[in-house]
């Protein structure tokens, strides 16, 4: 009981401390702080710090190491400076993949954000159907990504896939994603929309739920149409949430790997060879660790910069 109370009272919920303790010793803490500081917290975080260091930070340093060396074999390597960075940024195949990935991300955002918001607006705000709706909407998010890829790989097949077969034989349109580039692109795009729109919808739904009832009541009283209510009450309140949704979806779609790899393997040709797929080909397939290292770092840098720009633009627009 004592422990529970200490934790409840010691945690700075929202930065407010309701009551405080008398000075335990005579020496004051000379750091002036707004939020209560608890040194014990650092010890709790230590295991995470160690494992992240081990699994991410140190390997990242290894990548940096590779990116500035030409490696023939583990014992045979020479320092080449920024050579790989230069050649990677000039490589036409990599440039094409970059454009392709950018195009894909743009289309993903254009489709998923409006669709997600529309879904959120349509979901019920109270009553028993709330839980049902939430579960249904969240289902695609719960499926492991390679399984998502497998589902769509089969679904879109022209011969045994329900979707592919329907399009070819019921709608009369020729559709074969293994042969046609456009068909492959569309398949991957629609799969991503199916998989990730629920995330946007759930985020937007949380944002919408925070709007107090009187706002909707006032809109009713003012005779506002559904569209006017959306435009003037719901949309302005969604700004913060949408910023997060856009950022997340951009980063994820720009780095997409599993799903398209399972469905098309990057093909036909390189129609769906996004940056990450190309990178894995170079690093794992060809074992060109030098160029792969440089590629990785540049990739990382691009994602950081674009995300930062996005974030700044979106939050500034809010002020």
């Amino acid at each position: 009981m004592t422990e529970q109370s200490v934790t409840v009272a010691g945690s700075a919920v929202g930065g407010e401390t309701v009551t405080a303790t008398a000075p335990q010793d005579g020496t004051p803490d000379t750091r002036v702080s707004v939020k209560p500081k608890n040194n014990r917290a650092w010890f709790l975080v230590l295991p995470v710090v160690v494992s992240v260091a081990f699994t991410a930070v140190i390997p990242l340093m290894t990548v940096v190491n590779f990116s500035v060396q030409d490696i023939f074999s583990p014992d045979d390597r020479i320092f080449v400076g920024l050579e790989w960075f230069r050649s990677v940024s000039r490589d036409p195949e990599i440039r094409a993949a970059f454009v392709r990935t950018l195009l894909f991300s743009a289309q993903v955002l254009l489709l998923e954000i409006p669709l997600g918001v529309a879904l959120a607006v349509a979901m019920p705000r109270r009553g028993i159907w709330v839980s049902v709706a939430l579960v249904l909407v969240a289902l695609p998010l719960l499926i492991p990504w390679n399984v998502v890829g497998t589902i769509w790989q089969i679904f879109a097949r022209a011969d045994i896939g329900l979707g592919g077969w329907t399009i070819n034989n019921v709608l009369g349109i020729d559709f074969n994603y293994t042969l046609d580039s456009t068909d492959a692109w569309i398949t991957v795009l629609i799969m991503d929309v199916w998989h990730w729109t629920p995330l946007v919808a759930l985020l937007a739904y949380a944002g919408l739920r925070s709007i107090p009832d009187p706002y909707f009541q006032a809109a009713q009283i003012d005779g506002a149409s559904a569209w006017a209510t959306f435009r003037h009450i719901q949309l302005p309140r969604l700004r913060g949430v949408l910023t997060i949704a856009i950022l997340l979806r951009f980063m994820d779609s720009f780095m997409i790997y599993t799903e398209p790899f399972v469905v098309t393997g990057g093909g036909p040709g390189n129609a769906t060879s996004f940056l990450s797929i190309l990178l894995s080909k170079i690093a794992v397939g060809q074992f060109d660790l030098g160029p792969a290292g440089a590629f990785s770092l540049l990739y990382f840098l691009v994602v950081q910069i674009v995300s930062y720009v996005f974030f700044t633009v979106l939050t500034r627009a809010g002020r």
Binding site: S5, A9, E16, T19, A22, P23, Q24, D29, S33, P36
Partner: protein
């Protein structure tokens, strides 16, 4: 002095919220009164240690606590919103500060919790959760929690503002008795001047981030040193009229009275008179007369608020006793006894004079 603020200044996002605050408060209750956005909450947060000041010091019982984080100070807060731990019972809520303070003997804890609950009148609600209580009961739980462990400084930020009018009246009386003999400093903020008058404790008047005045609230009411203080301590709001000093008399809208004190001729002044000092019956020879048209009469039963439109478009509000019926559009004459007028300097609002007969609020 138990609590001293020395030159405290707070700036946030380019705006100064508190300008150079100097205060010396002794133990017992002190009321902090001021309108919205005067800086009351900011001041309390600085005193409590939630907000470090950009300049100045906070000294409690002789010790400089400015740099000490709130967790190490002996401070308790009661907020306007009823803040309680929602998952704990009332008993546990009140006991929580006692449990954290490892120096509080466990065997005394139960006795203390029950004692404080009894004082706050929630002795029979100890098993309930805050969500099951009414607003008044929740706030009393919050206050009980703040009282559980004796602290050096108890801060209450407009604690009754979210309660019903009648409940407020009732709790005000309870709190006044409770804090009167407190060994620590109790700082109570309010935007309601009537509340400040009820508490009749040493009062600090705050306005626009500055201390406008400090002292006995009845004195400040009777002799406000500045227009800002007079306006803050008036409910209903003060009537303000323009005046000019000319040859020993103060002229105002066609009427005049002898100017108390010698002041330069031609000087513009602001005359302030409280609504209950405006009558519609002539009560003496040397009174100010303002012909007016009746715009509105608000009758509450115990008083009638008469809104008068003066010749030059100004408004005057008279508070008349009892129920008096009027027809809007009727003509009337408003009378003001110069004895009840405050004359303020036009620039800076300093009180230049009150008249001969002062209202003596001390018996």
């Amino acid at each position: 002095m138990a609590l001293v603020l020395d030159g405290v200044r707070v700036r946030q996002r380019g705006e100064t919220w508190l300008h150079d605050i100097h205060l010396e408060l002794s133990s017992g209750m002190t009321t902090l009164v001021g309108p919205m956005a005067a800086g009351k909450t900011t001041l309390m947060r600085v005193v409590g240690g939630l907000l470090p000041p950009d300049a100045g010091r906070v000294v409690v019982n002789g010790k400089d606590v400015t740099a000490i984080s709130v967790r190490k100070r002996s401070v308790a807060f009661v907020y306007q919103q009823f803040i309680n731990y929602p998952s704990l019972s009332v008993y546990e809520n009140i006991a929580s500060p006692l449990r954290i303070a490892r120096s509080f003997p466990k065997k005394d804890m139960d006795r203390r919790v029950r004692e404080v609950a009894e004082i706050m009148g929630i002795g029979d609600l100890l098993d309930r959760r805050p969500a099951e209580l009414s607003g008044g009961q929740q706030q009393r739980t919050a206050i009980a929690r703040a009282l559980a462990r004796p602290v050096d400084v108890l801060l209450l930020d407009e604690p009754l503002a979210n309660l019903d009018f009648k409940l407020r009246e009732q709790l005000r009386g309870d709190l006044k008795n409770m804090f009167r003999d407190s060994p620590g400093v109790v700082l109570y903020s309010t935007a309601d001047p009537a509340e400040a008058l009820t508490f009749a404790s040493p009062t600090v008047v705050l306005g626009e981030g500055r201390v406008l005045d400090m002292g006995d609230v009845a004195d400040m009411y009777a002799q406000p040193p500045t227009l800002a203080v007079a306006a803050t301590l008036s409910d209903p709001p003060l009537n303000l009229l323009p005046g000019v000093i000319r040859e020993g008399r103060i002229e105002c809208l066609g009427s005049s009275f002898p100017s108390p004190g010698a002041h330069d001729s031609g000087r513009n002044v602001v005359l302030a008179v409280r609504p209950h000092q405006v009558t519609i019956e002539r009560s003496g020879s040397e009174v100010l007369e303002f012909p007016a048209e009746i715009r509105l009469a608000e009758v509450t039963g115990s008083a009638t608020f008469l809104h008068l439109l003066l010749a030059d478009g100004r408004h005057l509000v008279a508070q008349l006793p009892g129920t008096q019926l009027f027809t809007p559009g009727e003509r009337a004459v408003a009378y003001v006894d110069p004895a009840h007028i405050f004359v303020f300097d036009e620039v800076g609002g300093r009180l230049l004079a009150t008249s001969a007969a002062e209202v003596d609020l001390h018996g």
